[in-house]
Symmetry: C2
Subunit: 331 residues, 2 copies
């Protein structure tokens, strides 16, 4: 394999998060699916913002959070995702570059505006997202930089990209480029409702070998295989991809290959504050480990460490240095 | 005194904060006065943002934080301050209204953009602010709503308003209206360098009776009277206004009138994270108490409680309910 310029390239919906606390009654009154990513249009976005409490803003986007996490560990990361050259687009671009991720996707000049997700965090720490896709609907094959893909050890994308119309074409192109360069291609299933929308296509991506590595949480795994049995899901995903990584919140994670199974405990936490970014940062730690010569159980531990840090704060990217945390933990 | 629609009206620079962690070497390299509010122009703003690490955004502005704090305690609050009808202006407007503050200052339609302050937080928790005033330079007497001023028990403004060109005229007008309605007028000295810029004018405001109540921290007090003695400063401010409230960080606060002195300890904290908003929230607690029938020492305790909450988190307005915290503390 030729030299790699990047450990990990990630591709996703480029989003700024608008985060506020609320209670469960509010979610019910506003008909927000708890714990899920709810897609919303302009009108709904305006309504929800008008009833939302005081908020803070932070750059987000699932795969962008993962790229930021890889860079936070000291890895070499790049990102593709579409913003508009507006105030939120400038914030998104600043933040991802400032943490050291190479990000050069051409922004839109005018409309639609940069995507935003209104995230409501309930007292149990669960986050419920309401995403207006805005500029993300314009991501397409023309945004795939062949040089970057072919020089990334792993290219990773979020299942959420099946929502905008042309991103899936971009992903299929990127997968072709990656495999021609003998690189690996990875995805996250993103969200159980997202799996429900695109189950057959996700299974086809895995079974055709387009995707080599799959991240999912337990609910997404069960949704993918339409089973209530975690064990059945594990056995199925083991056959459908090269590495399957299943996160189980406080129960830790399970990594499976055709013939290996690694169960790793969750990293201990003091207080769950906001689960936003948990899966994204888990993937960051795992992918950083995998592209830096770690064994699978250590990859899972690095994922657990990053997830533990991000869920003890408000916002989707850790406020503190992942590299320092990793060193403190003796990695 | 006729019925009051508001406990507290505050007037200030309407600002969105952009907050990032850094170290002391960065402040030195970038020539940022530590712990101070540094005024910057467009070019400097662009430079600092280009070298700033990943950030989060949160509505700020000293007097706006105080209004938000009063509302957070359950008080009736209003705010005057100038934004532009742009993305940051919409965020500012949403957040202050969402916490229950009446805010209706007419926004600018185009330029200059809404003010922003790049705030660098060092490992010791100190914040160093770099403020681009933007739309705030347009605040003037035409923005003073006489009805609101005359129906607020206390109108409070930030000394920072002496930086934009026409806000001082707005403040003098508001003071006239307030005093004609037999209301009280209060200010914060804001920042030791701000005191240095406007010392004579601030002293004139106090000695002429334009301002009845003055908030300052120890450094600002010493700067005002150009003394190194805290005691001399206390004796001086006691003569120059009806109530002087001096905050001393971990040493608590001292409240003086012509013939009373109340020393109150700081509220205990677990971990200092970010001092942004400490003085603003202290003023909020104090003013909420004062307008809701509390004795001066209890006003100081409520101020200390609000300050303690805001310095244990990132961002200038408490993430949690001040009303609930006050009740838990037995007030």
């Amino acid at each position: 394999m030729k030299d790699s310029r990047y450990d990990v390239l990630t591709i996703g919906n480029a989003i700024v998060d608008i985060i506020a606390s609320t209670d469960d009654d509010f979610l019910i009154a506003e008909n927000i699916k708890k714990g899920a990513m709810n897609l919303i249009d302009t009108e709904r976005a305006e309504h929800l913002y008008s009833v939302m409490g005081p908020a803070i803003e932070a750059s987000g986007g699932s795969a962008a959070n993962t790229a930021a996490g890889v860079a936070g560990f000291g890895g070499k990361a790049a990102y593709f995702g579409k913003v508009t050259d507006d105030a939120l687009g400038k914030i998104f671009t600043h933040d991802i570059r400032a943490i050291g991720v190479d990000y050069d996707t051409a922004p839109l000049e005018h409309t639609p505006p940069t995507a935003r997700s209104m995230i409501f965090v309930t007292p149990d720490g669960e986050r419920s997202m309401n995403t207006y896709l805005g500029a993300c609907v314009e991501l397409g094959p023309e945004d795939i930089d062949e040089d970057v893909v072919s020089q990334a050890v792993i290219t990773y994308f979020e299942g959420y990209l099946w929502d905008p119309p042309r991103a899936k074409d971009a992903i299929r192109l990127a997968a072709d480029i990656a495999h021609r360069a003998n690189r690996s291609f990875a995805m996250t299933l993103s969200d159980p409702f997202c799996v429900d929308r695109y189950r057959d296509e996700f299974l086809e991506l895995m079974r055709s070998g387009t995707v080599d590595i799959v991240f999912a949480n337990e609910v997404e795994l069960k949704s993918l295989y339409e089973t209530s049995s975690f064990e059945s899901g594990l056995e199925a995903i083991r056959e459908d991809c090269r590495i399957g990584i299943i996160t189980r919140s406080e129960k830790g994670s399970v990594t499976v290959t055709r013939d290996e199974t690694h169960v790793v405990n969750a990293h201990p936490i003091e207080k769950l504050v906001d689960t936003t970014g948990a899966g994204d940062l888990y993937a960051a730690g795992f992918l950083y480990g995998l592209t830096n010569g770690r064994e699978l159980p250590d990859c899972a531990r690095l994922g657990g460490l990053a997830a533990a840090l991000v869920i003890q704060q408000i916002g989707p990217r850790p406020n503190q240095s992942l590299k320092a945390a990793m060193e403190e933990e003796g990695f």
